[in-house]
């Protein structure tokens, strides 16, 4: 009988005559991918600037004296103006399978065992939802007045989720927190919420004053696989979120 360890440790790829693309071609494709992502984000950025600049210019020219808050909010650093409206063409549904339903409001798609994220009141929010018979996936994006407020919200949620994960260890319904280093700040956790093996994977990523919630639920699929799927689907959205950073792309 073969020793499986010997078999594994001597694993080779017979007949795998590698003929990969030249490194220069790989770099060329990588550069093209990067430019495409930036161009997509830049289009969103231009739209955002137009959306913000127009009412400000109108307000200035009319010398208005009312107390309506401005569209933009200054952070403690006077040089940073945080975008307060999601560009109309922001690619929130990018990465999700079709058909996707998009709304300018938020409805939680997550079965959160420990209480989860919700967008702040009166913030600009958008949600894209894909549903299938054996699972579903969604992206939700919300803008906070400042980067500091977004960071605080995600830090608080991270602490709350970590504490909850410890409290639910060994229970029938439990939460696992996974390592994550996307965007400026991120959090990934898995809700195991049914005896039938239903899970809800939640990824929260902050870039500047924006927070993206990417989510997927599945049944009978290993959590690592569902987590990988959520991260794969959210990657192009996270790339495009650079329009919300302190140094926009």
């Amino acid at each position: 009988m073969h020793d499986p360890l010997d078999e594994l440790e001597n694993f080779s790829t017979p007949g795998l005559t590698m003929n990969p693309l030249p490194a220069s071609e790989v770099r060329r494709r990588g550069t093209r991918m990067r430019r495409r992502n930036h161009a997509l984000a830049a289009i969103g950025g231009v739209a955002a600037v137009a959306i913000i600049a127009t009412p400000l210019a109108m307000a200035a020219s009319s010398n208005r004296t009312d107390t309506t808050p401005p569209v933009t909010t200054q952070s403690p650093s006077p040089s940073v103006t945080w975008v307060q409206e999601i560009p109309a063409d922001f690619p929130l549904a990018e990465g999700l399978p079709t058909p996707v339903r998009t709304d300018a409001s938020y409805e939680s798609q997550v079965t959160d065992i420990c209480g989860g994220w919700a967008p702040p009141e009166s913030s600009d929010v958008r949600q894209a939802v894909f549903t299938e018979s054996e699972g579903g996936s969604s992206h939700a994006l919300a803008l906070y007045p400042t980067e500091g407020e977004a960071a605080l919200a995600l830090t608080s949620l991270g602490a709350q989720t970590q504490a909850c994960a410890i409290q639910t260890e060994g229970k029938q319904r439990w939460v696992d927190v996974s390592p994550s280093d996307d965007g400026d700040q991120s959090l990934v956790y898995v809700n195991h919420y049914s005896d039938a093996g239903d899970i809800d994977v939640v990824q929260l990523v902050r870039v500047g004053n924006a927070i993206l919630q990417a989510q997927a639920w599945s049944n009978g699929v290993p959590p690592e696989q569902t987590t990988a799927l959520v991260e794969e689907r959210s990657a192009p959205v996270i790339d495009a979120m650079c329009v919300f950073s302190a140094d926009p792309c």
Binding site: M1, E9, M18, R29, M33, R34, P97, E224, E232
Partner: protein
Amino acid sequence: MDEREFDDFYAASFQRITGQVYAMIGNRDEAQECVQEAFVRAWAHRRKLERAEHPEAWVRTTAYRLAVSRWRRTVRGRRPVDRAVGPAYESAAPSEAHVALVAALRQLPEAQRQALVLHHIADLPVHDVAREVGVPEGTIKARLSRGRAALAALLADEEGLSHA
């Protein structure tokens, strides 16, 4: 990471990572395509790659996630045209033992197969496997133990059948 460093990294690790991803997913062509695409992404996100403690692990994880994602699209019958496919290559017929091993690996639960490949083929210590997969070391030890036992049983069955 400048161009020369990337090219050296690519040349040194492409075949190794492809072999590991192949062992994880059981399909050589798919493994090569996913690793190729992962290197394209590595160059596109090279600043992120520079911050990664283990660039090879970053590429392997990305390739594996791509493979999982493509598999799901294939299952749904809506897989798009591959974006990063190298020229066709010839492959010699693998040995019987090799085919049996790949077939046995494919029958294992995905988590056990991933742990076995990273530990025994990629030669990563348990600690590094745990970090790459994102679970505690104890979980990896359990997966390795169960995976080895299952693999031994599967290969024994295979041997029994071939001698019957």
